[in-house]
Structure formats: C-alpha cells, structure tokens
Amino acid sequence: METEKNTRKLDRKDILGIKELSVEEINLILETADSFLEVSTREIKKVPTLRGKTVINLFYEASTRTRTSFEIAGKRLSADTVNITASTSSVVKGETLIDTARNLESMNPDIIVIRHSAAGAPHILARVLKQSIINAGDGAHEHPTQALLDMMTIKSKKGAIAGLKVAITGDIAHSRVARSNIHGLTKMGARVFLAGPATMMPYGMEKMGVTVAGRIEEAIEDADVVMALRIQTEREKQCIFPSLREYAAHFSLNKRNIGLARKDVMIMHPGPVNRGVEISPDLADSASSVILEQVTNGVAVRMALLYLLAGSGNA
C-alpha cells in the first residue's frame, strides 16, 4: 500500500464531484484512505507528510462534522489549517465569492476546501484559482468526500461494491449526499434504488442509472446497504410533505421494514440524524448501523484527498 501510494497519483487539480472521477481514481482514493486509517489509531496521531502546506477551510454554510473532519485530517498530516466561517453569503456582504477567493489566493494556501449553500460555487473557485479546490458540499449538487467515505465504509464491510443493492431513502431532491453517492455507487457497479415521497424525487433521476421505487419497501427488499437521508423540517413550509409525523409513519427505516433487507444489511446515515424521523432510534444504534464508522472513515478519506492533491506535487 505504501509503495502504491507513492507511485500512483491523482492527476487533477480539484475534487469538485464524484461525477468527474473515474473508477481508478476512486479506487486510488479509497486505498490511500485505508492506509491513513491507521494514523488515527496511533498514540501520536500525526505524520509530517504535509508539513509547510496550508489548507483553508472556507465554510459558507454551518457544519460541525465536515469542517472538524477536514481540520483534523489536515492537522494529522501536519498541514496548517485555517478555518473561515462566512456566515452570510458573499452577495449580502457586497464582496463576490471571486473577490474573497482572490484575496485568499494572495495568501498562498495550497488547498481551499469550500462548503457553500449554492450549487456550483466550488466550480467557480476552481475556474478562477490556481490552488486545488475540494468541494465539501455545494447546495444540493455534490458532496464528494461524503460519498467517498460512504464507499470506503461499504467496501470495508462488504469487500466490494460491485453487485450490491443499495437503497437510498428520503429527500433525494435536496440531497447532495444522494447525488454524489449515485454517481459513485453506480460507477463502482452497485444497483442503486431510491425511495421517498414523490415531492422529494426529482423527475428524471432514472437517467442517472438508478431505479426509483414507489415505496420504501421495494427499495429495501434484499438490500445489502440502506442509506437514510436527513429530513429538513423546513420543507413542511414548502409543501414538500405534510408533517414529520406522516413522514415517519411511511418513510422511516424501522425494525419492521428493515426485515425485508438482507440479514447482513448495513445501515448508513450521513448525519446529523433526526432520530424517530428518517430512522427509528433503536435501528440507528443497532449492530447493523455503521453511522459512527462513517465518521471515522471520513477523516481518513479527507487525509487521502489532501495528501493526493497537496502531497504528490499537484498543488
């Protein structure tokens, strides 16, 4: 693994989405992440790999998990990490995203990690800046590091992704996690089934190579992996669904419907979990749940990306 890590490199400047990645690139990232997993278990959780490199975490949208995960990933590789939390959009501030980015560029960072509520914001930065850009979630578009850590988790438990049936349930329309996983899992040969209320299912998702199920049971049946998405309560006001109560009654993962899946089903969730809404509390804590392993793998995947972009001479 170590030798592979040193000889193979990621031949791209940015990680904007899973859509652009090849199967080989995904495999390289996942293998590199595997090799970094061990660092986080050491007593001294630090390697000097990215000493002298600067990583800026530019977060335009609130995030605890992802931002912390990137920060820890950078620190364990000895990079200098700087967190910028921009609470308002660039428009409100009067300075455009590009202005902000050019200012940051002038401070010579090596990698800029960006989270933004507007789809495509990282792509704007990538076009303008010479630095590597990592998309940490853009609107409802992509969240590539989440999909990579999900694929890493599936691979570590199931050995391979090809041939698995994966069900993704919930608010597909507003989910960047769903889109990145759809790109990734279908590339890696999984059969992906989506289920959710019709108001949360964009027209035309089938064209992305997935099966849209009418009911959650159809998606879960014989599934190897079930991934529940977070329901945002403000969607009630947009008439996306009537109430959390009704959603939970018909679309929640629970002990009853999970029985339709394979015995060794893995239950995943990108977090934060609304217990009792998209997943019943006992299920979230059951032996089938890998929700916390996803978080652990998240650090390793982000270390792998920082290393592959900054450590192998690309940045």
Partner: protein
Amino acid sequence: MNLLLKGGRVIDPFTGLDKVQNLLIKEGRIAEILDDAPIQGLSGVEVIDIAGKIAVPGLIDIHTHLREPGNEYKETIASGSEAAAAGGFTSIACMPNTNPVNDKRSTTEFILKRAKECGLVNVYPIAAISLKSEGALLSEYWDLKEAGAVGFSDDGRPVMNSALMRRALEYASSLDMPIISHCEDTNLSSGGVMHEGMVSAELGLVGIPAAAEEVMVARDIILAGYTGAHIHIAHVSAAGAVRLVREAKARGVRVTAETAPHYFTLTDEAVRAFDTFARVYPPLRGQEDLEAVKEGLRDGTIDTIASDHAPHARTDKELEFDYAATGLTGLETSLALSLSLVQEGILTLPELIRKMTINPARVIHIPKGTLAEGADADITVIDPDRQWVVDPGTFRSRGKNTPFGGRHLTGKAVMTIVGGKISFQDM
C-alpha cells in the same frame, strides 16, 4: 443626404419583393426602387455598391432592456442604441422595468428624449401594465399612449392577479394597444434558477417547470379570448406554450407570440458548467422544447423573433449561479443566430425577415417594416456569407453577458440605415 444602394438583393416580405434592385433614398424616405435604372446623372446622391448583399426593411426588436433610467451601469439608451444599430436593428422597443419603472408619462418622455439625442435608432417605449409593475393598480394608459408608449408589459414581474390582467386587456384594447405578457406563474417558479428537467435533477439546482410558463399562457389566452383583446406572448420557450398559442390562433383568438434566439439555439445543457451567462428567464429548456419552438417558427405560430436583450455588468454575473442576475445581452448576436434557421432550412430568408420586420411592427402598431416607396428609409444591409466569431469585448452594449462568446456565426448586418442616415457600417 440621398443614397443609392446599388445591386443588392432586396427582400421586402410586406410587398412580396425579392430580387436584385437599386434602392434610391431621398430625404429620409424610400424614393424609388429601380430595376436597372440609368444610374448616371443622379446628382447629390451617394452611391453604395451592395452587390452580393441583401437589403431588407430595417430590423425591429420588440423586446429589449435598455436599463436607463436607473441602471446605467448595465446599459444606457445610448449604448443600447449603438448595440442595436450594430446588430442591424433600426427600431427597438424597450421594457419598462427600469428604476423608476416606466409607468408614467414623464418616464416615457424621458426615454424618447434620450433616444432622440442619441439618434441612432428608433426607440419605442413599452410602459408598465401596473403602477411600479407591482401587479395592483393600472397605470395611466391614455397618458402613456399620448406620450409615445406602444404597448404595456410587466415584463420580469409577471401579472399573477388574473382580474388585473383582464382589466388591463380590456383597457388597452380600447386604445388599440397590445398587452405583452411575461408568462410565468411565480408560485410554480418560486426559487427556481434553471429549467426543471434532467440537468436540474443532476445539478441539484432548483428547477422552473415548463408548466410555470404554460399555465400562464393558457390563462392569458383565455382572457384574451374572453375580452377580445390582443395579447402578445413574450419569449415563448416551452413546447406546451407553442401548442397553446397554435390552438388559440386556430380558434381566432387575437394572440401573437415571440421567441428569442437562445430558445432555438441552446438547451439547459448550457447550464451544466454553472455558466451564469446561461441563466435567463424563462430558462433555457430541453431539446423537445427547442424543437417545438423551431416548429412554431416554421408553421407561423410564433410571429416574431425578439432578442430579450438583457445587459448586465460583470458584478451581476460573476456570482454563484443561485445569486447571478438573469438575462443575456442579445442585440448583437440576434440576427446571426436567427440566420441559422435559414441555413438549417427551417425558414426561408424572406420568412425570417418577415419575423424580424413587418410582423413585430404589427404587434406594436408602428408604421415600419417595409421598403415600399414612401416608407421611412430604415434599411438593414446583410452580408449573408460573412463569417465571424462572437467576441463580447467588441460589443457596443455595456452588457458582455453572452453564452455565445467564441461561437462561429455566419451572416451579419454590415450597414444599418435609419431614416436615410447611416447608423452603423461594417462593409
């Protein structure tokens, strides 16, 4: 100044003329169209050889945004007039969504005064349907008509109140004025930034369904039928809208329709790279819609092509896709993009010229769009073979926001004559 345009193919769909002729212009009017007249002996006449080129009635664009008053950093009446002349347009109608909104005589008069000072093209103001385009109270249509307005529209601020739309149609009808409707149900389109379809599903951008346009086209057709008034549907982009207009025309409803070049040239695929220059309302739609718009142009459902020229400054567009201003600058690419319909065999050249001259003139009831003897000498000379590459840096418009930058086009206006005076020349 008197001019003789010599040896060009002269096309006038209004009179049915299409042959090589010589056009004699005297005192700002078409004096004579001469077959093979002895050209010697005409004193005080500047002779311009346009052999190999096409002379048509001055092109008319009934849907532009000139931004003045209020947003002069995006465009002025002067810069918009220059852009129009460079694009081959001799007459343009400008939408009222300025600041202040053109809902009063004083604003209409201001626009006309500025346009006259500039003097490059004829500018026809379209006034607001409702005060401040707020969709509540009618503006003063008599006053506005007397001041020079040629129609009413709340373009960009769709009239959601059906009762207001009914009254607007009735009131405008009594003045023989069209209501120009931007058809969009703003509840259905709420939050949307692009066409709702496969591409929006994949990009995670909020979609605007074609139904948002079609629902309002249906409503406006029903109201026009009920009131007997003339409704003009602006910027038709959706297949369902084309179908509704076609059916309404067959039933005898007084409906006319326009589309813009981007709706028969681009689809929502243009948004894939989050190119904010491709953000426009109504949004660039799917391939089926594009084909339906072409068919609507071919079979006469769509009467006219208008650019929906919507200039913006860099700062309005260099933003996240969700926050970027909507619209594209169109006056300087409209003709060449439209000529591709002829190259593709969808329209004959006279059919296209009809949709850019006499048809739009009829929508807003202006005495333009023909080369008949005695008509105003508004003439566009087109070089149908001129190859050029769109370079926004060379645009006369202040708005450089075009998704067509770098595109290779064939055909260009090489001379624009307005009232017998040359406003633009690139022979």
